[in-house]
């Protein structure tokens, strides 16, 4: 059964999550991918205020398709996370609570997750039409010129994710694959 977590998102609500658990998130999350991460970290380096409060934020690595009339958003599945590895440890050290994406992360990101009590979630890559239905509101709040890569504030309901990296150092990609191989060799 999935664990339901509603905002406000806090370290306390995330601290007991473990790799492999299914979670349904309800609340405000922010979108950012390659170009937005570059700009956000450059703003921070210049001493400027980023487009949203990094502390306790959940960032979804996604560049959605354009919304059709009457819809808040188009298809919205995760993009591959490793491209954000260069930026993620800095943001996690500033208090970012969660990342949603897909695929392996660097050792630096894994260490930053544990060091900060953060969580890396995976959404199902390529199931973007399915996830679009969980996005109830969407608003571009920065970098409109980036199009699909602009920073959006999303309100999501029961957004389905799986814990990949947890605050205790668990890693679903490693453990899940090992568990499967052990189960078929029995």
């Amino acid at each position: 059964m999935a664990i339901t977590i509603k905002e406000p998102f806090t370290k306390d609500k995330f601290k007991d999550l473990r790799a492999g658990e299914s979670v349904l998130l309800t609340g405000t999350i922010y979108t950012a991918r390659d170009a937005a991460h570059k700009r956000i970290t450059e703003m921070i380096a210049r001493g400027e205020k980023p487009p949203f409060e990094i502390k306790d934020s959940i960032i979804y690595y996604v560049g959605p398709t354009p919304a059709k009339p009457g819809r808040p958003i188009g298809s919205a599945g995760p993009t591959t996370s490793y491209r954000m590895d260069a930026y993620a440890p800095e943001l996690l050290d500033l208090g970012q609570l969660g990342m949603i994406g897909k695929g392996q992360r660097s050792d630096e990101v894994m260490a930053a997750v544990v060091r900060n009590g953060a969580v890396y979630f995976a959404a199902i890559g390529g199931a973007a039409a399915l996830m679009a239905g969980c996005v109830k509101e969407a608003e571009v709040i920065a970098f409109d010129d980036l199009g699909a890569e602009a920073v959006r504030k999303l309100y999501v309901e029961d957004f389905p994710v799986t814990v990949v990296l947890d605050p205790a150092g668990g890693n679903l990609y490693k453990e899940g694959q090992e568990a499967y191989l052990a189960s078929v060799s029995e």
Partner: protein, 280 residues
């Protein structure tokens, strides 16, 4: 000489950009269903079922299958007895892509320069490949290619001594290194032989082959089956959470090559292996 107006080509490309991003072919859906039936892991089956639901939602025509609606790869097979009229063929292809991606609410994912990275705003230019073939028809295939999987593709110039084992190990290693990144279950297109660039082109064309037909060569058909089995013994599974279904299919295309060489290219695609074809 038969004449085909560029407007006909443009309209068909615009339509196929939209259709390819919403409707998968039956061979892929059947392939997915047979892998679901053989999948021992419950976690993996749940993901494959979610992917099935995603396909059904996309078929309603409102949300594309994936938010990465791809770089528009357009393959043109032009009969040598056809005369294209009404303007520039290349402009017509790009105009079709522009219309399809704009009117179809598809994502604009192309930047004008690989380093300055300014988005062109209309998903052009397309990647276009032309083949001149006998006859008086034009066959157009539109294959929107996502880059989460494209980024996991590899090419290597082996010495001939690497042989069959070297080629097979490289394909399996590519799937292993890709791991969870390209949204498994994946489809692999493999190009063996030719030149450096020809191998990559064959790998991409191999992704367009039907999944329900055996390779024309019994030798390479057997190799495809063996590679699929080896990849599905790695344990990566759907989304990398563990399971049998890491790959749905492996398709191989080969070409004659040089006495000194053995090029091998592997083009990785995700489970949203999209392409539409029309013959004019």
């Amino acid at each position: 000489m038969r004449e085909i107006n560029v407007d006909t080509i443009k309209e068909n490309i615009a339509r196929m950009c939209i259709e390819a991003n919403h409707y998968l072919d039956e061979d892929l859906k059947e392939c997915m269903a047979s892998h679901l039936a053989a999948e021992p892991s419950e976690v993996a089956r749940n993901i494959l079922e979610s992917i099935g639901k995603n396909i059904e939602i996309a078929e309603e025509g409102i949300f594309p299958l994936c938010q990465d609606t791809g770089m528009a790869c357009v393959f043109m097979e032009i009969g040598q007895d056809v005369h294209i009229t009404g303007g520039s063929l290349e402009d017509a292809i790009n105009e079709g892509v522009r219309q399809g991606y704009t009117e179809g609410y598809l994502r604009k994912s192309i930047v004008r320069d690989p380093l300055d990275r300014v988005n062109t705003g209309d998903n052009t230019p397309a990647y276009i490949h032309y083949d001149i073939v006998p006859g008086d028809q034009v066959k157009i295939t539109v294959a929107p290619k996502g880059f989460g999987s494209e980024n996991m593709s590899r090419i290597k110039m082996f010495p001939p001594s690497a042989g069959e084992e070297g080629v097979k190990d490289f394909v399996v290693e590519t799937a292993k290194l890709a791991g969870a990144n390209p949204c498994p279950p994946i489809v692999l297109g493999v190009g063996i032989g030719g030149t450096f660039d020809k191998a990559a082109l064959m790998a991409k064309k191999a992704l367009l082959k039907p999944l329900d037909k055996p390779n024309e060569s019994p030798y390479y058909d057997e190799m495809e089956q063996e590679l699929l089995e080896r990849i599905n013994s790695l344990g990566i599974g759907p989304q990398g959470f563990g399971g049998r279904t890491t790959a749905l299919a492996v398709n191989i295309i080969t070409a004659p090559t040089h006495i000194a060489g053995l090029p091998v290219a592997v083009n990785v695609n995700c489970h949203v292996s999209r392409h539409k074809t029309v013959v004019l």
